[in-house]
Amino acid sequence: MLRIKKMKKITSYIFSALALFALSLSVNAQTKQAAFKVPAYEKFTLPNGLTVYLMEQHEVPVISVSAILPAGAIYDGSKSGLASLTASGLQYGTKSYSKTKIEEELDFIGASLNTYASKESAGLSSKFAAKDVDKVMPILKEVLVDPIFDKEEFEKERKRVLTNLDQAKQSPRNVISSYWDKFIYGDHVYGNSLTGSQATVGKFSIDDLKAFYAANYSPKGSAIAVAGDFNAKDMKARLEKLFGGWKSNASGQQNLAAQNVPAPTSARILLVNKDDARETTFLIGGLGIRRDNPDFVAIEVVNTVFGGRFTSWLNDELRVNSGLTYGANSRFTPLKNAGTFAISTFTANKTTEATIDKALQVLDSLHKKGFDDKTLASAKNYVKGQFPPRYETAGQLAGLLTQMFWYGFDESFINNFEKNVDGLTATKSREIINKYFPKDKLQFVVIGKSEEIKKIAEKYGPVVTKEIKADGF
């Protein structure tokens, strides 16, 4: 688990959930090879509304399954953390398999199974040897369609979750995005924390999980993608047989996320006090973009220059030139109906002010100076060159297919990626900066030792303080 390893740079800081479709894309402009394309796949919908994707991939004798369901934390209501516990609860036992039986069967053949919730959706992912398809698929079917939500297993899991919630707060890196979402989105459902808190999780009963499942898990609005070493015709028949009879009583969910997210009207700072902090961890930014923004690709190219790679302006200034931090970056986090943008870094308590000031200067110079053609060319080459490895394995491709389903894009996103990157002009990149990168009314979430940094925080606007040990975010 813990390899003793020290690296040049952090590889995934906070935002792994996004990595799937973020940042980078297709073949280098200088190559003469065929452009990177999504491999052939088949898509169809069962009569009960479940969308199915099949993609044959034969390099290794393995099959990957990915499912996505409209059952994320946005449906938690006042029961924060319920979507997440319900998703893990799918594995507490089913009509024909106890929890122990599921684990023993899958462990024995080296198969993996994860069920989880994210902000907007719930998901399942599984990987197993192609020869074990007869054994695994019926288990996956029951986990999705016939969970029984065993009470005893739930109580055990709840205890673990309650301890984990406290443990997570030991690490600013683990919790800062929960504070951020709440601070930016406020009462909008995108502000809902995925994990919940002691106060909410402590009160759930197994009936809450059952009710959440009944209201939100249904074939309509969900998709399952299978990629790997199988015959598509056989797999189609198999899935029709397994999932064709899935009926749900879930009556139309409300589109809770459709509500408008108000833009910030002034600068605000949330300071989260952690008494034993040796460093300050912070995010600065504001609202970002929706996933279906037509400028999605262009924005990623511009963000690459600003904070999306090692030589980005943020990392160059805060790390390479000044040694203030081990790493600084920026990112857009797009969801279906809204998104945020944030600069992200950390520094020793005593260099907090210098680091925040420098981050703001870099943002300011993006607006004032923009960048030259050489920098634009470099960013284009970079995002194109780093794109193909994101879609290399059957698991990555199955995930891509469910993302397409969820966010309503298709393979043209990938197949035209190179063209879209190349089409970005200097003029357009200037427009992108003006339109999407916040300039003022900045929002700050700062986790650190209040005693040492509160005065500094007040420099940037009115400060609201919370204790990291206080319940929730």
């Binding site: 690296m7 073949v27 024995f108 990987k127 301890t163 040694g323 194109k384």
Partner: protein, 428 residues
Amino acid sequence: MGCCIPMFAQTKADDVKTFTLKNGMKFLVVEDSSIPNANMYLFYKVGSRNEYPGITGLSHFFEHMMFNGAKKYGPKMFDQTMEFNGGANNAYTTQNVTVYTNWFPVSAMETIFDLEADRISSLAIDPKMVESERGVVLSERSTSLENSPWSMLGDAVNATAFQEHPYHWTVIGYENDIKNWTKEDLERYFKTYYSPNNCVVVVSGNVRVDQVKQLAEKYLANIPNGPAPKPVHLVEPPQTGERRVTVQKEVPTPYMMIGYHTPEAKHKDYYALSILNSILSNGNSSRLYSSLVDKKQLATSVFTDFSESFDPNLFQFYLESAENVKEADLENAVYEEIEKIKKDGITAQELQKIKNQKLMEFYAQLETINGKSNNIGTYEVFFGDYRKMFDAPAEYSKVTADDVKRVANEYFKKSNRTVGVLKTNVED
């Protein structure tokens, strides 16, 4: 996977092509056209085990300095040039090795060779870059301590279990060593450990072996060979009694580590110990998860780790205590599971389970070009031959239930263990 390229069968040992330059730099190449990309992994046989007090952390610091300028490509130009050409990189340092990783569209391969050749042949150590990089590394050290209790506890357990061997200190190094090493220390390190014959290079991706060989000859073959570095002569004496260490940090529940001295990667017991590691903690049906986390609810999580290493290292247990659990109860529950294996061994069913899991892990290693390079390089460096990677499924299938029982008895002895606990209250 494959896009636009016909599917092909999985990689075999014979698909790895090798050649060695006249200066001793060894290359392993895997042709894989599934994506229009390639990578280059350079494994240098130097890590914190090659250090001594006064320069602890220098291997890792040096890894950072390799990005800070050479003769042709000055400060910042390595990264700027690589990213302009669509490439990205990272690097990591462990107790044993320093590994540099480049990922790029295959069109950029010649540039990558040029960049690597420049820094291997003529690194420039700019005093200004040394100073700003000290700040970066101190921040790296601090952020790891800030964000993970395991970091503090692991440092204490290693320092206690190893009293003479260099695994005693951390890879990141002591804070005051980081602040005090000199340009001369760095130059000496470069001369000693960055000779081409101390490096194994792996290239995988949409390349041809002849093309890689031609570029290697052109850019790297003329870099002179240095004398072989002096071997690490310190050997940890056998531990003759249990050792315990306590660390204070405010945490909701205690963290516990238990480490047993076990042999290096080339030892005959490696495969049996690796299977034992999986039996103990791989998956919810594993011995420790099922007993400590599920049935007894003494821990919220449990992991074990047994990894490849040049010198004998630790087989480690990591436990996060559940609330209101006595430390002794948690610790004894681990020993109870260990004793069951020492006394009764493991079942045929369990052994088969782990062999099945090992085969799936093997497939996963071959699924990406990065997995190929990383694993082929690791086997070459730690096991002495990349072919051992392809032999691994067969080696695992040879291990018997009795072998697993035997190694549990041999290494999991009270006198051979170090126990570390991190908790809020250390005074009572």
